[in-house]
């Protein structure tokens, strides 16, 4: 990939904040989610379901190698074929080769996260294969689609869950125009991040309650399809499952950060995030957005780039996301952990960043009462000189970002500790 480096979150957010139409739509979307969720009372066992969902996803991740091998056996036994891809380029090659082998010059792609993550649309186009979104349900399956192509031989669809025990692929379809994943294609290419596996079929009894309510606020999504291998006379004649790593094992290495892989892609954290509600998804980058994106992207891509390193700071740590997460990912604490990773990665730089110098200096000053008190006296004097009418209207340097839109009161001449000492005398 070429082009200018992606902007930091704050710079991209400035652009997004100015988009009045997008702001209105984001507000409306958050309100719709809130209304839908409020209309359906929380089930009495919701917290028990969250606890179970948390544990199921942890069990999946902590035994990921065994679950993937079991899944592979089950899918193969049911007549499917399993492919593996260590990175996006491998995944693109696999999907392109499968499409060609099926003799397809036209492939139907859904708009799922893995399809977008791998940029399959562009990859297939480069290979000379036309791509299209799935036809609306009930649209004339034999007739000509809008773009002039006939029914596609190959459908590429993102998987929501894979059951290791049975080899079952689960597609949860919630859109207002539900699609039947790969229902009408001869060949289904199912694309899945390796972390979407769950150990057992009965785990779906939990996840199929947690996901719908968190995804759309409803009790159940419009359509759920469970497909195990090839079923003679029903659905695709060939089923391929492409298991994609593409950075996930890197996330798995981090004992705190790996909690992000519990995610079941419901977007509930988006709907409640006060930052996302104002910026939308664009400032987070092309694939993973919202609070979960702010903890996933820096781990998938590393924190070397300024754009990825800015994401853990794109939050007030208010915790609305953690309260709503159906699998109880403690997003604020992972954010704090990743901020630590960002800072650590910058300590070794030959020229220390100004913020590091400032924060080190502050800690040195604050770490010892006498130094702190001397600085307090100096700071108070200085700040009172900068104030007019008891308010500070403009601060220099890094602090200027505060006073761009907010005053600061002038510090009183007598700090608390001075008052206390005087009172005791």
């Amino acid at each position: 990939m070429t082009g200018a480096p992606a902007p930091k979150f704050a710079a991209a957010a400035r652009v997004a904040l100015a988009d009045t139409r997008a702001r209105r739509e984001l507000r409306a979307a958050a309100a719709v989610f809130g209304r839908r969720r409020a209309a359906v009372p929380e089930p009495p066992d919701w917290e028990a379901l969250r606890a179970a969902g948390h544990a199921i996803r942890d069990a999946a991740l902590l035994g990921l190698d065994a679950h993937l091998e079991r899944l592979e056996r089950a899918v193969t036994q049911a007549g499917g074929t399993v492919h593996w891809a260590a990175d996006a380029a491998q995944a693109r090659r696999v999907v392109t080769a499968l499409s060609r082998a099926a003799g397809a010059d036209r492939v139907v792609l859904d708009d799922s996260l893995p399809v977008r993550e791998l940029a399959l649309d562009a990859a297939l186009s480069r290979a000379g294969i036309t791509t299209a979104g799935p036809p609306a349900r009930g649209a004339d399956p034999g007739g000509e689609a809008e773009d002039g192509g006939g029914a596609a031989r190959v459908a590429v669809a993102g998987v929501d869950f894979m059951v290791a025990e049975t080899g079952t692929l689960v597609f949860v379809e919630a859109g207002d125009e539900p699609r039947a994943s790969g229902g009408e294609a001869e060949t289904l290419v199912a694309v899945a991040g390796i972390e979407t596996v769950v150990p057992e079929w009965r785990d779906m009894e939990v996840l199929l309650q947690l996901l719908p309510r968190s995804l759309t606020g409803e009790r159940m999504t419009a359509l759920v399809t469970c497909l195990t291998g090839v079923v003679p006379g029903d659905g695709p004649r060939e089923v391929h499952l492409v298991l994609v790593d593409n950075g996930r094992t890197r996330v798995l290495e981090d004992e705190i950060g790996r909690d992000a892989l519990r995610c079941i892609r419901c977007r509930a954290c988006h709907h409640v995030c006060p930052v996302y509600e104002r910026t939308g998804g664009a400032p987070y980058g092309p694939v993973h957005t919202g609070p979960i994106g702010a903890i996933l992207t820096p781990q998938l891509r590393g924190v070397e780039s300024a754009a990825a390193a800015s994401l853990p700071y794109a939050s007030t740590l208010c915790g609305a996301c953690a309260d709503v997460c159906p699998v109880r990912i403690d997003i604020p604490e992972v954010l704090v952990h990743l901020r630590g990773e960002v800072v650590e990665s910058r300590r070794a730089r030959p020229v220390p960043p100004p913020e590091l110098v400032l924060m080190r200096g502050l800690a040195w000053t604050m770490g010892e009462p006498r130094r702190y008190e001397a600085a307090l006296r100096r700071g108070t004097r200085w700040a009172r000189l900068a104030a007019r009418g008891g308010r500070i209207r403009r601060l220099p340097g890094l602090l200027g970002a505060w006073t761009d839109a907010r005053d600061l009161p002038a510090p009183p001449a007598e700090p608390f500790r001075a008052w206390w000492a005087r009172r005791r005398r």
Partner: protein, 195 residues
């Protein structure tokens, strides 16, 4: 090294040598329900209706009349049905042409029907969901999802009181389609048969 071996190697390396087994899954959520059957059936009816689908209760001996009335009420003229749909369901059809999906109807034939009539494998009361598994009277997925109207016959004893009960009852090796509300199946209409 193959991609498979590489991915598995990375997973093992990420998880480390001294892995602790994950804690057991606490399954303290509602798995079974002791609610009386009548209440479960009533809840299913309520939730299907809330979801915007028409739902009616019929006795087993009234089913054929109810199927005919439902199709007539929607002005459905041509329906497709799974090859093994019980003949009795369609016994009262008058002015409705029923095409059995045997041999499988081609795409053009499916496009020409304006409704399907099927049974189901299970139904879930608290969510108002019907689940089809391609078994008896249910047909293949393309048949179910193609038509503009879907009349689904649910026997009262197929209705479960919880999602876990349905998951336990369903066979995941069969192709499962969970349909909820009018966005799940266009023009969904449910007939609950009280046995």
């Amino acid at each position: 090294m193959s991609a498979r071996d590489e991915v598995l190697r990375r997973v093992r390396s990420a998880l480390g040598d001294e892995r602790k087994p994950p804690p057991p899954v606490p399954r303290g959520y509602a798995r079974r329900s002791a609610e009386p059957r009548a209440d479960v059936v009533a809840l299913f009816t309520e939730r299907v209706a809330e979801g915007g689908a028409a739902v009616r209760h019929v006795g087993a001996d009234e089913l054929a009349t109810a199927v005919a009335a439902a199709l007539w009420g929607r002005e459905v003229k041509r329906i497709a049905v799974p090859a093994d749909v019980p003949y009795g369901w369609l016994a009262e059809l008058d002015g409705v042409r029923a095409l059995a999906d045997s041999p499988p109807l081609d795409a053009a034939a499916l496009a020409a029907v304006d409704g399907v009539v099927t049974g189901c494998a299970a139904a879930i009361a608290p969510t108002g969901t019907v689940v089809l598994d391609g078994g008896r009277a249910q047909g293949r997925r393309a048949l179910v999802l193609a038509a503009a109207r879907h009349l689904c016959v649910v026997h009262a004893d197929q209705i479960t009181a919880t999602v876990p009960e349905a998951v336990a009852r369903l066979d995941p090796v069969r192709p499962l389609t969970w349909i909820t509300g009018p966005r799940g199946a266009r023009g969904l209409e449910v007939l609950v048969v009280e046995d």
